[in-house]
């Protein structure tokens, strides 16, 4: 009897492990219809998510992206941009890409924008930055190992951006009852063709990062305004 005991124990342990593994795979399917364990906004694995939760997740994404972009911008400035060129003046000179349709900047104007326009603006912003970020990754590779952290951050941001895009599409579908089958990417990047000098490339990359940071901030604010409207419509329209 005593000899059989370890065998029995082993069998039991194996059984438990098998069950755990089996259930682990099915966990998402079985247990949590409201909680999408995967990345935010991904339609594929999520069976169902409420609008509030989706909106929260989208805002979380936007906040994170803005935060990381700001960090990489600061890092880049500290590492590569010469001190003499760090003035606000030079920063402001970097004109960012103007979008296809202008987005108003003042609060009052933005508050007047409808939900639909807000969502579409955000979507457009997100879509417009995926390619430049991919290109930025390539350019950052040319730097030595000092830019590794910035590179990693940029990669991370790119990933988050694509999931944010999916989330926005889902939001549009839920809030506006529109279906966007095709994800449109706008081709805006023509100015990055030439191979400039080192300083120019640095400044160009710095401009990219700065502009992206601004747009990330824009996304965050828009989405938060949207949330406010969703929760408390009356007070959100009053400026």
């Amino acid at each position: 009897m005593s000899e059989a005991y370890p065998g029995l124990v082993l069998l039991l342990v194996l059984q438990v492990c098998a069950w755990v593994l089996l259930l682990w795979r099915c966990w998402g399917v079985l247990g949590y219809p409201l909680d999408c364990k995967d990345e935010q906004g991904s339609i594929i694995s999520c069976t169902y998510i409420s609008l509030e939760k989706l909106l929260d997740r989208v805002i979380q994404h936007a906040e994170l992206i803005y935060h990381v972009s700001e960090e990489s911008c600061t890092l880049f400035e500290e590492m590569f941009v010469p001190v003499s060129m760090r003035t606000q003046q030079n920063r402001a000179r970097n004109t960012c890409i103007t979008k296809a349709f202008p987005i108003p900047g003042s609060k009052s104007e933005i508050q007047k924008i409808s939900d639909k326009w807000l969502l579409h603006s955000v979507l457009m912003l997100v879509q417009s930055w995926i390619e430049p970020l991919v290109y930025l990754q390539k350019t950052l590779d040319r730097y030595d190992d000092a830019a590794d952290t910035i590179l990693n951050k940029t990669k991370w941001v790119t990933n988050k951006l694509s999931s944010l895009e999916q989330g926005i599409v889902e939001l549009i579908r839920k809030m506006l009852d529109e279906g966007l089958l095709a994800v449109e990417h706008q081709q805006t990047l023509t100015r990055f063709d030439a191979q400039p000098e080192v300083v120019e490339s640095i400044l160009r990359d710095y401009a990219v990062l700065t502009c992206f940071k601004k747009d990330a901030h824009k996304m965050e604010v828009f989405l938060k305004l949207l949330k406010c409207r969703h929760t408390d419509k009356m007070s959100c329209y009053i400026s």
């Binding site: 402001a92 009052s108 601004k214 747009d215 901030h217 604010v221 938060k224 305004l225 406010c228």
Partner: protein, 585 residues
């Protein structure tokens, strides 16, 4: 060669010194020139923008300083122009709202994420003193938080420390509710006498806990905020003062209660030790043992089974011993014997007879079913004379009973050889009348202990008394001496040994008595004889003796010292008639 070297060396040395001299001179000149230049031609500081700031991301303002140009400090001396999104340059819309040297842009002029450029120009608008470009989201520096307050979370058990929760409100200018601006907060605290502020974590929430503050010390708390991704913090909020006085009673009580607890535990432990060490004593004190029946002077252990000999020895030394304890046993044993007896009538009488013989100590036992009440068990000592008289009075009765039981005894002896106490076939009795078969023992109580439970009837006196022989000769002899008297000729009980057969002397005695001669032809010689002579003369006789001869009077002369031979299997204490016939001529 040497000469050349020396020449070269000389030349080199001269060159070096010249160079040093020149460098020194040049340095001095440059320094003097520099100093001269700086002191003489210092360009005056031009008016410049100090900073631009937007408190809530909805408006912004810029302010400037005139620098060294004192004549430009007054209002209107300088003008501000701004350019929004690389558009046309416009003049500052509001010079007054924000204060002197401030240019205020209200919400209509403010656009976020759009590049602005501002220029500080002279009144004539031809000299640009300073230009600054920015976007509004970069210059957001919020107002400090308001509404700072604190609540007590808990105080430690010792009363030395406490925790609080501090809360505040976001600045009223910032539109946090709508999500237009996101702020993070950083509280700081310090003890009043300290100089360093301790910062807490930067968090989005408008509350935070502060742990580990000390009672009795006053603390100062302040909070500041900033936009989430920005680096510029706001000004600090108003200071909040926190103070919790020390609670002295708790401190003093705490050790006191601990002392009480430890003292009680110690006392309990000591009590337990005492109880366990003195367990036996306490048991005796609280639960006294129940007194068991006890015979004074005798160890109760001896009263247990199997220790009769020792008990006998002890009791023989006591004069006043009463054999009460053995009453029941003897009665029981006697009863058992009587069951075997075929004749029911004589049971009672036989029992009584036997009882009297065996219990030679028998002050108490001698008194049998006698309703006369003359004798009682509780008298410590009965005078021997009384006993003798009694024995005389009842001698005839005894004899009669014994005679009756003769025949039965003869029969029974064959069937039941074991009990020597039964009346012997050889016993003769003159009288035939039944009587209380009380056989009184002349012997005192002391001697009975030396006897077996069963005693053999040695002889029956002419008067009808039954003489029994005890187990041990010595005692018998003593008692016989003590009780012998002329009066007792008739009914003296002489105890001989257990020998089944009479000795020679005994046989003579037997033959001397006429009673024996009057017996039936089938005379069964009793192994016991009545001896008036001191029984001490009777030698110890073994259970079995051989008959030496039969004298003229048809009495058996026994050999006292012989042991029974193998060839003669005799019943204990009895000589069967067949054996007798074989022996007699």
């Amino acid at each position: 060669m040497f000469a050349n070297n020396s020449c070269e060396k000389k030349g080199a040395g001269i060159m070096a010194t010249r160079l040093v001299f020149l460098s020194l001179v040049c340095g001095a000149v440059s320094v003097s020139v520099g100093e001269h230049l700086t002191t003489s031609e210092v360009p005056p500081k031009r008016p410049y923008f100090v900073d631009c700031r937007s408190p809530e991301q909805e408006t912004f303002s810029c302010w400037w300083s005139a620098g060294d140009y004192q004549n430009l400090t007054g209002p209107g001396a300088l003008s501000v122009f701004f350019q929004k999104n690389r558009d046309v340059w416009r003049e500052c819309p509001d010079y007054s709202t924000a204060g002197e040297n401030h240019c205020y842009f209200n919400s209509t002029y403010t656009s976020i994420w759009i590049p602005y450029c501002v220029q500080l120009r002279s009144q004539i608008q031809d000299i640009v003193y300073h230009q600054m470009c920015f976007t509004v989201d970069e210059i957001v520096v919020p107002d400090p938080p308001v509404g700072l307050n604190w609540t007590l979370l808990n105080i430690s058990q010792t009363g030395q420390h406490f925790d609080i929760l501090i809360q505040w409100e976001p600045p009223p200018s910032a539109d946090v509710k709508k999500g237009w601006i996101s702020l993070v907060y950083e509280p700081q605290y310090r003890a009043i006498n300290m100089s360093d502020w301790k910062p807490l974590e930067v968090e989005r929430a408008c509350y935070q806990s502060v742990y580990g503050l000390k009672t009795g010390m006053e603390y100062e708390i302040r909070v500041r905020c900033k936009q989430a991704a920005s680096e510029k913090f706001s000004e600090f909020s108003e200071h909040l003062y926190v103070y919790i006085p020390k609670v002295p009673t708790k401190e003093t009580l705490f050790p006191f209660t601990m002392i009480l607890i430890f003292g009680a535990v110690g006392v309990i432990i000591v009590l337990m030790l005492i109880i366990f060490s003195q367990q036996q004593r306490l048991m005796v004190y609280f639960l006294p043992p129940v007194p068991v029946p006890k015979i004074m002077g005798i160890d109760p252990e001896l009263l247990k089974k199997g220790k009769l000999d020792e008990l006998n020895s002890i009791l023989s030394g006591h004069h006043t011993f009463k054999p009460e304890l053995y009453n029941d046993d003897l009665w029981v044993e006697f009863i058992e014997l009587d069951i075997d007896d075929q004749d029911g009538r004589s049971h009672h009488s036989d029992t009584h007879k036997l009882l009297g013989s065996e219990n030679l100590n028998g002050n108490c036992l001698n008194i049998k079913d006698d309703d006369s009440g003359r004798a009682s068990c509780y008298e410590p000592e009965l005078p021997d004379s009384d006993m003798l008289d009694r024995s005389q009075a009842e001698a005839r009765e005894e004899k009669a009973s014994l005679l009756d039981s003769e025949g039965r005894a003869a029969h029974s002896s064959t069937t039941d050889p074991s009990p020597p106490g039964r009346s012997h076939p050889g016993a003769t009795a003159e009288g035939a009348s039944r009587s209380h078969p009380q056989i009184q023992s002349q012997l005192s109580s002391q001697s009975w202990v030396n006897l077996d439970f069963y005693a053999q009837v040695s002889n029956i006196t002419p008067a009808g008394g039954v003489l029994l022989s005890p187990g041990q000769q010595s005692k018998i002899e003593k008692t016989a001496e003590a009780h012998s008297s002329p009066k007792t000729q008739k009914c003296q009980l002489a105890m001989t040994t257990d020998s089944a057969y009479t000795s020679e002397m005994d046989a003579k005695n037997i033959s001397a008595t006429p009673s024996l001669n009057g017996n039936e032809p089938k005379v069964i010689v009793s192994p016991y004889t009545v001896s008036e002579a001191p029984a001490s003369s009777v030698p110890p006789v073994s259970d079995y003796t051989t008959v030496q001869a039969v004298d003229s009077q048809q009495s058996l002369l026994l050999n006292p010292s012989t042991l029974p031979t193998k060839g003669t299997p005799m019943p204990a204490g009895y000589l069967t008639p067949e054996q007798l016939n074989s022996i007699m001529p």
